[in-house]
């Protein structure tokens, strides 16, 4: 069975075209919108996660205290990491539908002649 090569170099846009898209207002806007979500989310999650080993290591007494019954702060804090992870995932899914819209808009405005239909390869 003969298939078309997966990426034909002659169909690839050249560097000037990439630069044009990269410098377009739509692309800059997309990156800015993504950064507003991703950077704070990543920094928060990193800090919240690393707090667990740091507190377990350096504040063992606090971490051994009881929350209810015999269940310790450490165990509840560890379980809360799962909740935080899932929450960030949900928020990101929501935020990313906006990213997808912006990408769609951007591709409409900045389509390459060769590739305005990505499935154009038949």
């Amino acid at each position: 069975m003969k298939r078309l090569p997966e990426s034909d170099p002659s169909r690839r846009p050249n560097e000037a075209e990439w630069n044009r898209v990269a410098n377009s207002a739509e692309f800059r806007h997309l990156l800015a919108v993504k950064r507003i979500f991703i950077i704070p989310a990543f920094v928060f999650f990193l800090a919240y996660y690393l707090l667990l080993p740091v507190l377990v290591g350096y504040a063992p007494r606090l971490m051994s205290a009881s929350v209810f019954g015999t269940v310790t702060v450490a165990y509840v804090f560890a379980l809360s990491q799962f909740v935080v992870g899932w929450t960030i995932a949900c928020l990101y899914l929501k935020a990313s539908s906006r990213f997808d819209e912006l990408v769609k808009e951007l591709l409409k405005q900045n389509a390459f002649q060769q590739e305005d239909n990505p499935r154009g390869a038949k």
């Binding site: 560097e15 990156l31 080993p53 290591g57 063992p60 990491q81 992870g85």
Partner: protein, 533 residues
């Protein structure tokens, strides 16, 4: 016929059926290496979860929690939380900018030959290390199930042959579906065990946690009572706190550098599906890892650390708990599912190793990026899979079940965190990044993490003659590096080398291609398309 053999044979028959189906559909390189990029979000979520919920996790982490309580659970937390990094930073750019391997993303704007050669080397190293961890779990399991009349060597050889059949004939499509079936099996099995543990305590969480706070066992010849919900049983002074942070870094960034996980994001049609599949995987992996704490503490309370240590060792806590709760039937089932898990993960590792060899090394280093014909690439990958399979069978027979599989897997992750993660991240996000930086980062990360592991207490130490029946250390001398996990030193070293290597050299072509990479990574413009049959 013993129940374990029956369950395992059903799994083998199902997966061989899948392989036959996949082999008939699989044509061409994209089909072989990336399942035609047609895997859906939930399917890939299950497959990623299957790849990650490995034998090392199921056997090793449950064992750590059963013997050392809360501290073992930190492995579970780190393993899960790492997927936030993958979701926010890695999965989508990787899918948009790459083809089959992480080397693709690096080679976009860097000089392909040195970068791909190093990427292939680091991929193969991590794959081999991770594979050893899985095989150690398998070895311990065979010992426990020895009643079924299967010897270790026969089991391992059978294992290797099955894995090679999946990978060589079925490629990525078969490996993915084997992974999906196995993930569903493992989750079901874990849920059953959680229910049985809770039933044992009359479905009262209070009673269960009360029992977990009073675990009685022998420590250095003395009977002690420990609270398994408190931290500090594993990570003790003087270095415990640092070791814990080191472990956390390795888990956090290592998962995002594991070749067999990264490769999964090439099997989906686009970045949006890649993103959704990470969320699927997070739901599955998170639920699984939360449950490991119940199963682990269940093993500590129902079976007891003393019994686990004397009757099979750290990796056997889960299976021993299964026997205590559900007799030989449940032991057989859990044992068979654990075997299926190891088999599937080993197949996933093999295909990522052989893909990197064929695509990064054969096509792009030896043939300088000119792919003569894609059938040849697939043939090379199949031969590489045979090679990887043969080597892992020999390694598994040579190595005994002498250490906790979870710890070994974490060490492989430390290598991934130190070598792969810094260069992937910098290549996606830092305009100035260049070839010298990538080569320096990969080689220093690789050497630093492996070097530190070899002189750490895991491999280096003086064994006393009257200690418990643990394996002897590889090097008989006082450990030169005090921490078990090298992450706290080797991850910064990997980053530092990548940054220094970049700053002392200049590569304008890499900077000028950054715009292209950025547009591709963020918009999916020009990304690899899925194929239709």
């Amino acid at each position: 016929m013993p129940i374990s053999l029956l369950v395992f044979l059903v799994f083998v028959a199902t997966t061989l059926g899948i392989t036959y189906w996949a082999a008939k559909r699989s044509r061409g390189a994209s089909a072989y290496f990336a399942a035609g990029r047609q895997i859906t979000a939930w399917q890939n979520g299950f497959a990623v979860a299957g790849d990650f919920m490995s034998g090392a996790a199921f056997l090793g982490i449950v064992g750590l929690i059963a013997l050392q309580g809360f501290d073992g659970f930190l492995y579970s937390v780190g393993g899960f939380i790492a997927y936030v990094t993958i979701l926010l930073l890695i999965a989508e750019p990787l899918r948009n900018a790459g083809k089959y391997t992480m080397g693709d993303v690096l080679a976009y704007r860097l000089r392909p030959r040195p970068v791909r050669a190093m990427a292939a080397l680091s991929t193969m190293t991590i794959v081999t290390g991770y594979m050893i961890a899985q095989m150690v779990g398998a070895g311990a399991l065979v010992k426990l199930l020895a009643g079924s009349g299967i010897s270790y060597n026969i089991a391992v050889a059978g294992f290797g042959v099955l894995m090679m059949i999946y990978v060589v004939f079925g490629g990525m499509l078969a490996t993915t579906w084997v992974q999906i079936v196995k993930a569903a099996l493992l989750l079901t099995c874990t849920i059953v065990m959680v229910v049985l543990v809770l039933a044992h305590f009359g479905f009262s969480l209070g009673t269960f946690f009360a029992a977990a706070s009073h675990v009685t066992f022998h420590q250095q010849g003395q009977l002690v009572v420990m609270d398994f919900l408190r931290p500090g049983l594993r990570y003790k002074p003087p270095h415990g706190s640092l070791d814990l942070i080191s472990l956390s870094l390795a888990l956090l960034f290592g998962t995002a550098g594991l070749p067999h996980i990264l490769m999964r994001f090439y099997t989906v049609p686009d970045a949006k599906t890649a993103r959704e599949s990470v969320v699927w995987a997070m739901v599955l992996i998170g639920s699984f890892f939360v449950m490991t704490s119940i199963v682990g503490l269940g093993a500590a309370t129902v079976v007891g650390p003393d019994y686990i240590v004397t009757r099979g060792g750290t990796n056997m806590a889960g299976p021993l708990l299964a026997r205590a709760l559900g007799g030989e039937v449940l032991l057989g089932t859990v044992g068979a599912v654990a075997f299926a898990t190891i088999l599937a993960v080993v197949a996933g590792l093999t295909i990522s190793g052989s893909t990197s060899f064929a695509h990064d090394f054969w096509v792009n280093v030896i043939h300088r990026g000119v792919e003569q014909n894609s059938d040849e690439t697939v043939l090379v990958a199949r031969i590489a899979a045979l090679g990887v399979g043969a080597i892992s069978i020999l390694l598994a027979i040579a190595l005994g079940p002498n250490s906790n599989a979870g710890i070994l897997a974490t060490l492989a992750m430390a290598v991934a965190a130190s070598a792969n993660f810094p260069v992937i991240l910098l290549s996606i996000f830092w305009r100035r990044f260049n070839t010298a930086g990538a080569v320096a980062g990969l080689s220093v990360g690789l050497l630093a993490s492996i070097g530190l592991i070899l002189i750490s207490p895991t491999f280096m130490g003086l064994d006393s003659s009257n200690g418990p029946a643990i394996a002897r250390h590889l090097f008989q001398a006082k450990a030169m590096f005090p921490l078990e996990n090298p992450g706290i030193l080797s991850v910064p070293l990997g980053f530092l080398a990548a940054i220094m290597g970049t700053l002392v050299t200049s590569e304008p072509s890499s900077e000028s291609k950054f715009n292209e990479l950025m547009v591709r990574a963020n918009t999916g413009l020009g990304a690899e398309q899925s194929i239709s049959h």
